[in-house]
């Protein structure tokens, strides 16, 4: 990766969506999308409301089943992976952060606990410090503000040590102040950790700030894929 955060051209493909489609009750939500995401790359998926952005993202961690096509994660067809292992590797942060009852620390340890692992207090604190919430471990998760909950949601996804992170409009449900804080936090974490990301956004300027590459979706179809300049500033 160069100093601007652009992955080297020879970086391996972490994730490949291969002719991915999904239809429900005769309505095509995602239509024959093929795209590669290289290690360390941030791919922004932009498009108008109802263009299939979230539907596409849900196919990447198999929360929904493709009608046709598949996804290769680190070269392996994801249908060959147990769903839980796949979702551990493909982390997801949703538009609205859903907190589980209990403390923030218990929320962070949710993912590792599924595999019989424990998240040490030191690692939990490190994750919380990383998202700007040091000392938040004992707090009740359901009492957090929207911005705080979204930061915990990000830390909770990172606690699983994913190889790729899916972000579904992570700031769209937040107020302006929380929005800029969470966005800059995500940018810092992505670039410091060399984390591969697919981020959904309807905000073109956010896509410009966060991504190396952009995919434009219209009516479920990828109409343009390329660099930020090629797609958004052409």
């Amino acid at each position: 990766m160069d100093f601007l955060g652009v992955p080297e051209p020879q970086s391996p493909n972490i994730l490949v969506a291969d002719h991915l489609s999904r239809s429900v009750n005769g309505v095509t939500l995602v239509n024959d999308i093929t795209v590669q995401v290289r290690a360390g790359e941030v791919l922004a998926v932009v498009g108008p409301s109802g263009s299939g952005k979230s539907s596409f993202l849900r196919l990447l961690n198999r929360l929904d089943e493709p009608t046709s096509g598949t996804v290769f994660l680190e070269g392996i067809d994801y249908r060959q992976l147990p769903p839980r292992e796949l979702r551990r590797k493909v982390g997801m942060v949703t538009q609205r952060a859903f907190m589980f009852p209990g403390s923030v620390a218990q929320n962070l340890s949710f993912g590792p606990r599924q595999r019989g692992e424990t998240l040490s207090d030191a690692r939990a604190e490190k994750l919380l410090t990383r998202v700007g919430l040091p000392g938040y471990g004992p707090r009740e998760a359901v009492n957090l503000s929207g911005g705080e909950a979204q930061r915990v949601s990000l830390a909770r996804a990172l606690a699983n040590s994913p190889v790729i992170l899916l972000l579904d409009e992570p700031t769209s449900a937040l107020d302006d102040e929380a929005k800029s804080g969470v966005e800059s936090l995500i940018r810092d974490i992505i670039h410091q950790s060399f984390l591969t990301c697919v981020v959904i956004t309807h905000d073109v300027s956010q896509a410009t700030r966060m991504a190396n590459r952009v995919m434009l979706l219209e009516s479920g179809r990828a109409t343009r894929v390329g660099s930020v300049e090629e797609v958004l500033h052409a």
Binding site: V24, R62, D64, P83, E85, T94, F98, F110, R115
Partner: protein
């Protein structure tokens, strides 16, 4: 008052039915004023109920005088009918009829079988059918409540459930709070009936036993026996149905299939 005007039993019965229906429809109209529309469901339920009970009542004497083996056929038919009725409370849940019928058969069927074998329920068809029908009917209500509560809880918590799945959770764990809530809620009527026995509720069976010459203490104890059997049958039905329905809420690829607007199981 009606008995004076209508001395004939048939006329009296029909008039009493009309009076009860008028009160029920008054409630339906009150609900309608609050934008709660029960009209068609209440009308169909009352119409069906009347036709069914009159039809069964007409042949009941023949059924109760039939050979003992016919009891198991009658109980099996009741379980199937209960499964079909209960499944209607679980719209959107795949295989709701199979889940309901299997749960009621396991819950009510096994309690009837064991209690009959032990001699708690008399093997005479005139005892087995009324007591068995009580167990099946209560198991049906419990099953309907459990499925309905599970369905509404899951639909209201899709975000939480899918967040858990996205973090690598076992589907069973992701819905466990809603399975527990539906199990507990479905058993409220059975527990409250037991709790209020003799104070709020004196079952009709007790009056029948007293009139047929049973000792009052035995008749009273048998009411407790029946209600406890109802609780056991309902509890077992709910345990089985919540276990089965939990599996139906997910596809083979561990995707939540019980979501608003998504009914198709598209996993391979």
């Amino acid at each position: 008052m009606l008995k004076v005007i209508f001395p004939g039993q048939l006329q009296l019965g029909l008039t009493q039915a009309v009076a009860a229906a008028i009160i029920a429809f008054a409630v339906v109209l009150l609900a309608r004023r609050r934008q709660i529309h029960l009209e068609s469901e209440a009308a169909i339920a009352m119409g069906r109920g009347l036709v069914q009970i009159v039809a069964v009542g007409s042949v009941l004497v023949l059924l109760l005088r039939g050979p003992r083996w016919t009891a198991s056929i009658l109980l099996a038919v009741m379980i199937l009918a209960a499964g079909a009725t209960s499944a209607k409370r679980a719209k959107g849940i795949p295989s709701a009829f199979r889940v309901s019928t299997y749960s009621i058969a396991c819950g009510a069927g096994s309690v009837i079988a064991v209690m009959t074998w032990l001699g708690v329920i008399d093997t005479a068809i005139s005892a087995l059918i009324p007591v068995g029908s009580m167990l099946i009917a209560n198991a049906m209500n419990t099953n309907g409540l459990a499925l309905n509560r599970f369905r509404s809880d899951v639909l209201a918590h899709v975000g939480e459930i899918e967040t858990a799945l996205a973090l690598g959770a076992d589907p069973k764990q992701s819905v466990s709070p809603y399975v527990q809530a539906s199990l507990e809620a479905s058993l409220i009527p059975a527990i409250d009936s037991l709790r209020s026995l003799g104070i709020v509720w004196i079952p009709g069976l007790m009056a029948g036993m007293l009139l047929s010459g049973a000792r009052p203490v035995y008749a009273a104890i048998y009411q407790f026996v029946v209600l406890t059997m109802i609780f056991a049958a309902s509890g077992l039905t709910s345990l089985v149905s919540t276990l089965l329905v939990r599996a139906q809420a997910f596809t083979s690829a561990e995707q939540l299939s019980l979501r608003p607007g998504v009914s198709a199981n598209l996993a391979g």
